[in-house]
């Protein structure tokens, strides 16, 4: 990270923001005016705090309205240790962050299983409980009267006589959060968070442990919030449960990210730089006479941003910023834009002859699945050997997708076992583990990570077996070349055509390097040309070493693709065999067309 930063320092996209940050640092260190110093302190602090919120709220898409819990706990832990026991806040910071981490685990582990508004409600309730506790334990917190922090200026107390020192400290905090966010954005965790925000089931199928990723984001976010809270409280020198644990704190942090741009590193900075001065000037302008007016304005801004620019101000100015960057000169070795990477195909063609003997790659034994009183699958057994392509066909409602969901670990069968590579899949609790065992799948109804680029979508899959971004990127590019999406790699996934979305589904699954690939109706809705391409692609995939099970309605495709076909109807296996045998089988014709039809 640091190395590539200095290597590219000559590029406008790198030196321009660096210069802006340097200028801000100079302002913080040198400006004598107390009013402006206070303003800058608040902007830096809120940019950092909102940035911390943005990790869980923006990147992971879990809207917390309980960050006041981390803020309050952080502020109080260090302040109580300082005021009652004399522990210098420089050390107290670590205690605060430690408590916040523990709190994040306690709240996160159960609450992050909840979706959408339920997570929000739960976090709201947690902050409320902590506020009540802070009022209740008077001996520790001084209750509603508030806790005063003794004014003893010293660096290790994080209390300074000069406001310049405070502003520089706040600047440091903001940069810390910014750098952490930028590193996160380019890391495996960052990709996983963005993916699960858009489609958590698909992310799970690509090997993302969504609960662990969300908790990691929550813990990081909570610890950084607590850190910021300590700095602010050593500046304000007074704590009070009704302001430090207030839902207003949580709303403000969320608001700044939302206004600037949710899930972007720079969004919280833009939000704070606009909203904090606005609030301060409104307060100074209307005076103390009208309480609450600046919150009225904040609230209106929040509503208007949601309705008219949901991607925030960053998205509005993005183009102009890029145009400006193009105008600025480049310096040194980083002068030229990077050349287009060449993509080498590392996939080797095994020309694998299917091994029909020996241990099958996957074997289902007598699986049944009931939904309530309805039996959807009953007693289905089959086996697939490495290198085979098995087609599964059956009339609508036969139970094909349910069968897929059972063998890929999404549903547990009511009866029976599925053995994959010697492992009993039905004993596995979490879908992402199935992916790590080497089984990839696509969904009949495509589930792209709509707001990520095509390349990033596939990288999420590649991260299944890779920790490093560079390698994951390489794998993703290879796979994209294989499925023929390389020219669309920078497009947003939601802008693709249906045919390309289905290719993307396959590409993501392929990037996990699966031993077995389950394809659920990847050809539905494609035109004849596209079907031919898809048939060729699936054959290529098999030749590169994967075993494939296809569920398909398009008969032409399934007949020319499959080496073996299994027919199911009404949840039962009708027959299994070579394509030409199956198609002539009277039972199959009966299952599709009913009695009274005979093959001429």
């Amino acid at each position: 990270m640091l190395g590539s930063y200095f290597k590219n320092i000559g590029a406008p996209g790198v030196y321009f923001p660096s210069l802006i940050l340097l200028a801000l640092l100079a302002v913080a260190a040198l400006v004598p005016n107390e009013f402006y110093l206070n303003l800058f302190f608040m902007i830096f602090m809120f940019a950092g705090l909102s940035g911390a919120w943005n990790i869980i709220g923006g990147y992971a898409g879990q809207i917390s309205l309980g960050h006041a819990a981390f803020y309050g706990v952080g502020a109080y832990t260090s302040a109580v240790l300082f005021a009652k026991l004399g522990l210098p806040p420089v050390l107290g910071i670590f205690a605060s962050m430690g408590v916040a981490v523990v709190l994040a685990f306690i709240i996160g582990y159960p609450c992050l299983r909840l979706k959408g508004p339920f997570f929000t409600l739960a976090t709201l309730a947690v902050a409320e409980v902590l506020q009540l506790l802070a009022v209740y334990f008077r001996g520790l917190t001084e209750g509603s009267e508030g806790l005063s922090i003794p004014y003893e200026p010293a660096w290790y107390n994080l209390i300074f006589a000069s406001k310049n020192s405070y502003a520089v400290l706040a600047f440091g905090y903001m940069v810390l959060v910014l750098v952490i966010t930028l590193v996160l954005e380019r890391s495996k965790l960052g990709y996983q968070l963005t993916a699960l925000r858009d489609e958590d089931q698909a992310a799970e199928s690509l090997g993302v442990n969504t609960s662990r990723a969300k908790i990691a984001a929550f813990v990081l976010s909570g610890a950084l919030t607590a850190l910021g809270a300590v700095i602010v409280s050593q500046y304000v020198l007074f704590l009070e449960p009704h302001s430090d644990f207030s839902v207003n704190v949580s709303v403000e942090l969320a608001l700044m990210s939302m206004v600037g741009g949710l899930g972007t590193a720079v969004g919280p900075l833009i939000g704070a730089a606009i909203l904090i001065p606005l609030g301060e000037f409104l307060r100074a302008w209307v005076g103390g006479g009208i309480q609450g007016l600046h919150y009225v304005i904040y609230g209106c801004i929040l509503i208007l941003v949601v309705m008219f620019m949901p991607h925030g101000i960053k998205a509005l100015v993005e183009n102009k910023y890029q145009a400006l960057m193009a105008l600025l000169p480049r310096f040194g070795a980083a002068a030229r834009p990077q050349p287009e990477e060449e993509v080498h195909l590392h996939f080797e063609s095994h020309e694998a002859e299917a091994v029909k003997e020996g241990r099958p790659l996957i074997a289902a034994h007598e699986i049944s699945k009931d939904f309530g009183g309805l039996r959807v699958l009953s007693g289905i057994s089959f086996a697939v050997h490495p290198g085979e392509i098995l087609g599964i066909i059956g009339p609508n409602g036969a139970g094909k997708t349910t069968l897929f969901n059972v063998i890929s670990g999404v549903y547990r069968p009511t009866k029976g076992r599925v053995e994959f590579d010697g492992q009993d899949i039905t004993q596995i609790r979490r879908i992402h583990q199935v992916c790590h065992l080497g089984m990839g799948r696509t969904y009949q109804i495509v589930k792209p990570f709509g707001n990520m680029s095509v390349l990033d979508n596939v990288m999420v899959g590649a991260f299944c077996n890779q920790a490093g971004s560079a390698t994951a990127r390489e794998i993703a590019l290879e796979v994209l070349a294989l499925v023929g999406l390389l020219d669309k790699k920078d497009q947003e996934a939601k802008s693709l055509t249906l045919a390309n979305m289905k290719r993307l589904e396959m590409a993501r699954a392929l990037a996990t390097k699966p031993k077995l690939l389950l394809l659920d109706e990847v050809m539905a809705g494609l035109n004849p040309n596209e079907i031919d391409e898809a048939i060729k692609l699936i054959r290529d995939i098999r030749d590169y070493g994967s075993t494939v099970i296809v569920v398909e309605h398009v008969m032409r495709a399934i007949m020319s693709l499959s080496e073996r076909i299994m027919v199911i109807a009404q949840g039962e296996k009708v027959t299994e065999g070579l394509p030409r045998e199956v198609i002539a089988d009277q039972r199959v014709i009966k299952a599709y067309l009913g009695d009274g039809f005979e093959l001429a």
């Binding site: 159960p110 959408g116 508004p117 506790l133 009225v296 609230g299």
Partner: protein
């Protein structure tokens, strides 16, 4: 005997919670939006009732004929102006929009009415009927009865009338309902209106009992969230039951534990329900959509 008195107080308090929660749960069940500004609708209706009394001299029970239709209109307005444009947006957008509305309304009240606590001094509100050792507050009894009556009336409305059937159809499957020729926008608008009118009733009925101040809604709405989640979001009977349970918990823990901790007890119940049975006691409408099943 003391226990019985505490229990009855709890049930009556539960009536207040239930009445506030019924509107919230109806709106969620049909529109699938958790209205974070629900408490502020309560706050507005309490102020409306207060000013009807202090300026027009109207008895709060009489002023309901103004407050209820007024709140219906407020609900329709919120739905059409704020919710309608973001109906199909991701749920976090709706959270942000209604949170924003809540912030605006609380602080507008602060600007216009200041932070003073105001109340209505009504002799009737203090009347207590004694039955043996048990005292029954008449005004609280009215709230309790109203909660049950409203739950029953809304159930009748949803079950028997054409409009009610349309609302239930939309709640079950909006696309299928649209194909049957139901105009979803109209249904959403009316549902939001009815939900808000129910809060209007609650606000008018509790005005003789409670102080009104700008953030009064925030206090009640948190309890209402607890109630509806406990009962099962979108479920009317659940909201009634949940309200009564939380009222009793509130009253018992306030008496036997510590009044300062009673909220904590039911917030812990809330977290417990969210964790172990997020679809609530009576089951939740739209649980599949929320990924809870």
């Amino acid at each position: 005997m003391v226990f019985l008195q505490v229990l009855i107080n709890g049930l009556f308090l539960g009536g207040v919670y239930a009445l506030i929660s019924l509107g919230l749960t109806l709106i969620f069940g049909v529109i699938r939006v958790i209205n974070f500004a629900h408490g502020e609708i309560l706050m507005i209706s309490m102020y409306a009732s207060f000013f009807c009394f202090s300026i027009l001299g109207l008895n709060p029970y009489l002023s309901l004929i103004i407050v209820i239709p007024g709140m219906f209109l407020v609900g329709v307005l919120i739905d059409q102006v704020i919710i309608r444009p973001i109906r199909n947006a991701p749920s976090y957008m709706q959270i942000f929009a209604t949170v924003g509305l809540s912030v605006v309304l609380i602080n507008l009240a602060l600007v216009f009415f200041s932070g003073d606590y105001r109340s209505i001094n009504l002799a009737f509100a203090k009347q207590v009927v004694h039955m043996g050792d048990i005292g029954i507050s008449l005004s609280r009894f009215i709230v309790f009865i109203s909660a049950i009556a409203v739950a029953w009336l809304v159930w009748l409305f949803l079950d028997k009338t054409d409009m009610g059937k349309q609302i239930r159809a939309i709640a079950q499957d909006r696309d299928a309902a649209r194909l049957m020729g139901i105009n979803p926008n109209k249904i959403y608008m009316i549902t939001f209106g009815i939900g808000s009118a129910m809060v209007g009733l609650a606000g008018g009925l509790i005005m003789p009992l409670y102080y009104v101040f700008p953030s009064v809604g925030a206090y009640f709405v948190l309890t209402a969230f607890v109630v509806v989640v406990l009962g099962g979001l979108g479920n009317m009977v659940g909201a009634l039951l949940g309200g009564l349970i939380i009222g009793v918990i509130d009253s018992l823990s306030g008496f036997y534990l510590d009044p300062a901790l009673k909220e904590m007890v039911y917030f812990l119940v809330f977290l417990g329900v969210l964790l172990f049975r997020p679809s609530g006691l009576m089951g939740m409408i739209g649980a599949e959509e929320m990924g809870l099943k």
